[in-house]
Amino acid sequence: MRKENMMAEIADKNIAAPEVETAERRPLPRWVITTVSVGCLVGFWEIFGRDINPVFGSYPSAIAVAFWELLKAGTLWKALLESLQPFVVGYLLAIVIGIPLGLVIGRFRTAEAALGIYVTAGYAMPLVALVPLLILWLGLGFKVKVSVIFLMALFPICINTWLGVIAVPKTLIEVGKSFVAPNHVILRRIVLPATLPYIMAGVRLAVGRAVVAMVIAEFFTTISGLGAVIINSANNFDTATMFVPIILLMLMAIGLNSLIGYVERKVAPWQAEIAGRERE
């Protein structure tokens, strides 16, 4: 019976004008799905979080109140600004150095043989363990924070760029060669644009690592910024306040990620046009 129906349907479709087909359901916009997902999470947290001892956990409305208190007192802005300075410097430095380094390592076999091993090893470096040493070298201030953030962000950017260069089709480089393009022109005008999607992926991955590095630096060097807010409120068993900078940092990472996505669409518009966004 059901099969017959289907057959009839198929037959109908074949006969019917094609515009009937276009009346398909429009999929839910992505932001709606994301909002529902976040709403559910926050809702559950609010309901079940209230039953927990406020020292061991917190819940969204209590965190919102603590957020408002910190904002009113001016602590949050001051802390955020303190944190952002080394973050921006370290992160940008990682981009400015990581991309050319990755390009050179990927393109020249001598550079790859000489430097690739440090980059691979550096990615797995237990940086927290090295912080005391960095303090001995650079003191407790701004410089050491920048260097911790830089070291954490550098390697994902560099490695991704390197892998991207390896993935550049040989024929595109031969196009450059066939027109007698010198090596540096091939690097800048063929390899770099062809590698951009990889570079941007590395730059995105580095955001998360840089945020973690920033908090690590604030914990282990001069206690300052958002890290200080976390430590101080944790020491006072003020769990709700402790969550404020943590959530703020995660929001910041999300914001940065979409900013990078925006920049990517600006600098590599062809990529968005070629890459299939058709997904289930």
């Binding site: 024929t171 595109l172 031969e174 450059g176 060669k177 393009a181 022109v185 644009p193 062809w270």
Partner: protein
């Protein structure tokens, strides 16, 4: 001028398969001369060395023996005297059609208005003036290859080297581009060497056909068709076309009947 001569050109590859090194003789002392303004097709079964010969002439691969000369000058690496048309066009995806043509010209040292004017002129030559701002993914396969041809022609090389330029296109587009290539040749008089596995294409377009087998030049055949060829559909109906096509076919299949 644009005379290309292969002097005893050999090419050996070391190929590692399952840990064992095999030596492949891709080219085994090949000798032939392509005269100025001539169109020569390199044809043969896959692995016969036809593409390798073209790449050595372009300077993308180095020969392991012998030499290739263009107007008596030995080829060492790529040069602006030779223009390469790649099998899949190989346009730079982040550049528009016009910018792709300009890329080659910039490498030759052109700047400013001259650069743009020249690029536009050659895009017009392949009939793509209206699509000059499109990026490669917004072009059809045939249009991409037209841009590829314009890019190679724009630098005004002595020789155009084409590696199965129409092999990836559908039959109709291929026929249109074959006619266009002959038209471009009539207008520019360039020496053209092209690799193909398509018998019809070789006979329709070339003045001479170099049949390659096992890294050697097996036979060189002159196509007894007049130039200009005129309507290619009519050419296909001529007795000379059929006869030459059959000769080349037999060349390619010789000995096989004995083996099987």
């Amino acid at each position: 001028m644009g005379e290309v001569t292969f002097h005893d050109v050999s090419k050996r590859f070391a190929l590692r398969v399952d840990g064992q090194v095999h030596h492949v003789q891709a080219l085994d002392r090949i000798n032939f001369t392509v005269r100025d303004g001539e169109i020569v097709a390199l044809i043969g079964p896959s692995g016969c060395g036809k593409t390798t010969a073209l790449r050595v002439a372009m300077g993308l691969d180095a020969s392991t023996g012998g030499r290739v000369t263009v107007d008596g000058r030995e080829v060492h690496g790529c040069g602006h005297d030779r223009g390469m048309v790649f099998q899949h066009a190989e346009l730079l995806p982040w550049l528009s059609a016009l910018q792709n043509v300009m890329f080659g010209l910039e490498m030759k040292g052109l700047r400013g208005g001259e650069l743009r004017d020249t690029a536009e002129k050659y895009l017009a030559l392949v009939g793509l003036s209206d699509s000059q701002n499109r990026r490669p993914h917004q072009l059809s396969g045939g249009m991409k290859q037209r841009v590829g041809i314009a890019r190679a022609l724009a630098i005004d090389p002595k020789v155009l080297l084409m590696d199965e330029p129409f092999g990836a296109l559908d039959a109709q587009t291929r026929e249109a581009l074959q006619a266009e290539l002959l038209d471009i040749h009539a207008r520019t008089g360039k020496t053209i060497i092209f690799v193909t596995h398509d018998l019809d294409e070789a006979v329709l377009i070339a003045d001479r056909i170099v049949v390659m087998r096992g890294g050697k030049v097996h036979d060189i055949m002159t196509v007894p068709l007049p130039r200009p060829r005129g309507d290619l559909v009519d050419v296909r109906g001529t007795h000379e076309f059929a006869e030459t096509r059959y000769k080349v076919w037999r060349d390619l299949h010789e000995d096989e009947s004995v083996v099987h």
